[in-house]
């Protein structure tokens, strides 16, 4: 369906919410003829700088308009301190998800007549999705796109990831490459990274992880991921998790699944399914991945409402 055809069937309703404080901003994209479904979709982005309503290449704009075109009211929001929302937001920490914003977004969608909710989240948004879903009744399903199971402590999942998941042989190979040696000689920062990887490797080999990790070992899932997922499984909420085959978060998920996460997965059975797509989801850096993820969103929403 063309963009124009979809647009003629939907209303992009800008909204400041909650109604009294108006802290947050969002677009509630609604079917023009009124909702065909009482199930609404909550889209929760990662904290890409600036605004979280649009996504890379407008992927959340397109997703919301497509979903509303199929009859599902959908909201995409700016967290506090981003986009059109007011300031006062916390530091975007995976262990401090934006649950207040999520709960208020749910209430906003209830005001349009929604009574059940499919929650879609990626990165920081996926942690917000699971933490928020625990607090809400009427959750029809949870779709997590490349969720981080651990809490990266430095940079972009770099040093800790290397320390925990790269083999010693891999690290040695990297260390002796001419490029790495040149870098090490050149910058203080590079020396500091190498020191952190080495220290992390030693800690990992001793079974100790960075502060704030789960109790089951360095590669175990973080409490902020594990505990709410466990409770949602106990409640019987369908959960779908999708990773790119080359996502570092996929490697971390697989490793975490050897610990307590694995027990939850086993208990959940068909309720919690994990799928992969070729490439990297994190950052949605290709149009192919954006389209594949939006197709997963649409399929999952339809599955949850059958």
């Amino acid at each position: 369906m063309t963009t124009e055809a979809v647009q003629s069937r939907v209303v992009d309703q800008p909204v400041f919410f909650p109604p009294d404080e108006k802290t947050y901003f969002g677009f509630a994209t609604l079917p023009a003829e009124g909702p065909a479904s009482t199930t609404a979709v909550i889209l929760l982005s990662g904290t890409h700088t600036g605004s979280t309503t649009m996504g890379r290449n407008r992927m959340w704009v397109k997703a919301a308009r497509t979903l509303a075109g199929r009859g599902y009211p959908t909201i995409r929001i700016d967290y506090a301190g981003l986009g059109e929302s007011l300031s006062g937001g916390p530091i975007y920490d995976l262990e401090l998800p934006a649950v207040h914003a999520f709960n208020e977004a749910v209430e906003q969608m209830r005001s349009y007549g929604a009574s059940r909710f499919v929650v879609v989240g990626t990165c920081f948004g996926s942690r917000t999705a699971i933490a928020g879903a625990v607090e809400q009744r009427d959750i029809a399903g949870l779709l997590l796109l490349a969720p981080p199971v651990r809490n990266p402590t430095k940079g972009d999942g770099g040093t800790d990831h290397l320390a925990l998941y790269a083999s010693t042989a891999d690290l040695a190979k990297r260390a002796v490459s001419m490029r790495t040696i040149r870098k090490l000689l050149r910058t203080k920062k590079a020396r500091s990274v190498a020191r952190r990887v080495f220290t992390g490797k030693v800690q990992a080999s001793l079974g100790r992880g960075p502060a704030g990790e789960g109790q089951g070992g360095a590669t175990d899932a973080a409490p902020g991921f594990l505990e709410p997922i466990k409770r949602l499984v106990q409640r019987g909420v369908p959960i779908r998790i999708v990773y790119g085959e080359s996502d570092i978060f996929w490697t971390e998920f697989q490793k975490a699944a050897e610990g307590r996460l694995g027990q939850i997965l086993e208990r959940a059975g068909d309720l919690m399914r994990v799928e992969t797509v070729p490439g990297i989801i994190r950052g949605f850096t290709s149009v192919r991945i954006q389209e594949a993820c939006n197709q997963h969103v649409l399929d999952f929403v339809e599955e949850c409402t059958r």
């Binding site: 063309t2 963009t3 124009e4 647009q7 003629s8 939907v10 209303v11 992009d12 309703q13 800008p14 909204v15 400041f16 108006k22 901003f25 677009f27 023009a32 990662g46 904290t47 890409h48 700088t49 600036g50 605004s51 309503t53 649009m54 890379r56 290449n57 407008r58 704009v61 506090a80 301190g81 981003l82 986009g83 059109e84 300031s87 937001g89 530091i91 975007y92 920490d93 990165c123 920081f124 972009d156 080359s246 490439g279 990297i280 950052g283 949605f284 850096t285 290709s286 149009v287 991945i289 954006q290």
Partner: protein, 288 residues
């Protein structure tokens, strides 16, 4: 698109009214964010953003600038071009000429909402073409530009280079720039860093220079992000009668590299300096 109600927020402390809605002379409609001061509107600013990654990167800074100006009595209208950001329309409608052409609609909307006839223009990156074109047709209007794209060929070269480097780090074989240029012309669309670039958009960017727009008699503020040479703009614009000031700003921005934010932008010294400095300059020029 079926109509909607505007979103309206009035700040309890300042009385500033913020409104988010859509506007435009024709379909598809364009998204806007409007900041109105509590009392008399002393002047108005049209803010022209960039597109794609640059639109997202600068979004919050634009909002903060609008709020700061409203606190000082000035209205600001920020908007997204047709086919970009939260606006209606598909990416195929987005060209540099369409961006430039839309400023008049934004100015007219702001005039309608405020009754003001004295405007300043603010632009970011590629949006500086729209802002400069508006100032060219509004002699003497203040013009503030953040990290202006001076030559579109350099702009595209930077994106192609970033795309190539990203591809080298990824799993797919990087495609030479010449081949991609050939493809956008023959296939009608290519993808760069996860963004769609249409043939019309690409061709509208071929060989364009910001100094082709001459803001005669205007005060101009240039804010480079990092140590960028602005002389290629300062010289021709000074020669055409503009009064050009270059704002010291050591803070760089990797416009095309997405990263997850770890803390809000407000309260960061470099952002406060950028917003405060730009707002003060605009107010000073509009009051002169």
């Amino acid at each position: 698109m079926t109509r909607f109600e505007p979103a309206v927020r009035i700040h309890p402390d300042t009385g500033i009214r913020e409104e988010v809605s859509f506007f435009g002379d024709r379909e598809p409609a364009m998204f806007f964010g409007l900041h109105l001061p509590a009392g008399e509107v002393r002047g108005a600013v049209v803010s022209c953003p960039s597109v794609h990654a640059e639109l997202i990167k600068a979004y919050r800074k634009d909002v903060l600038l609008g709020r700061t100006l409203a606190e000082q009595g000035y209205a600001t209208l920020r908007y997204h071009y047709r086919g970009a950001g939260n606006s209606e329309g598909s990416g195929s409608e987005l060209t540099l000429d369409a961006m430039i052409g839309s400023v008049e609609e934004a100015r007219a909307e702001l005039a309608r909402r405020t009754g003001v006839d004295r405007f300043a223009y603010h632009g970011t990156r590629l949006g500086c073409f729209a802002a400069a074109a508006a100032a060219e047709h509004d002699p003497g209007a203040p013009l503030a530009l953040w990290s202006p794209v001076i030559e579109t060929d350099d702009f595209m070269r930077e994106i192609f280079r970033s795309h190539y480097i990203a591809a080298l780090k990824g799993e797919e074989k990087p495609e030479p720039t010449a081949r991609m240029v050939e493809r956008v012309k023959s296939e009608g669309e290519i993808e760069l860093l996860g963004y769609n670039f249409s043939r019309d958009f690409y061709e509208s960017l071929e060989g364009r220079r910001l100094d082709a727009h001459q803001p005669k008699g205007s005060p101009v503020l240039l804010v480079p992000f990092g140590p960028k040479d602005m002389s290629t703009l300062v010289e021709p614009w000074t020669a055409c009668g503009a009064t050009v000031t270059v704002f010291e700003n050591s803070s760089e921005e990797a416009w095309w590299l997405a990263g997850d934010a770890t803390k809000p932008e407000e309260g960061q010294e470099r952002i406060d300096k950028l917003i405060g400095g730009t707002a003060s300059w605009i107010v000073e020029q509009l009051e002169a």
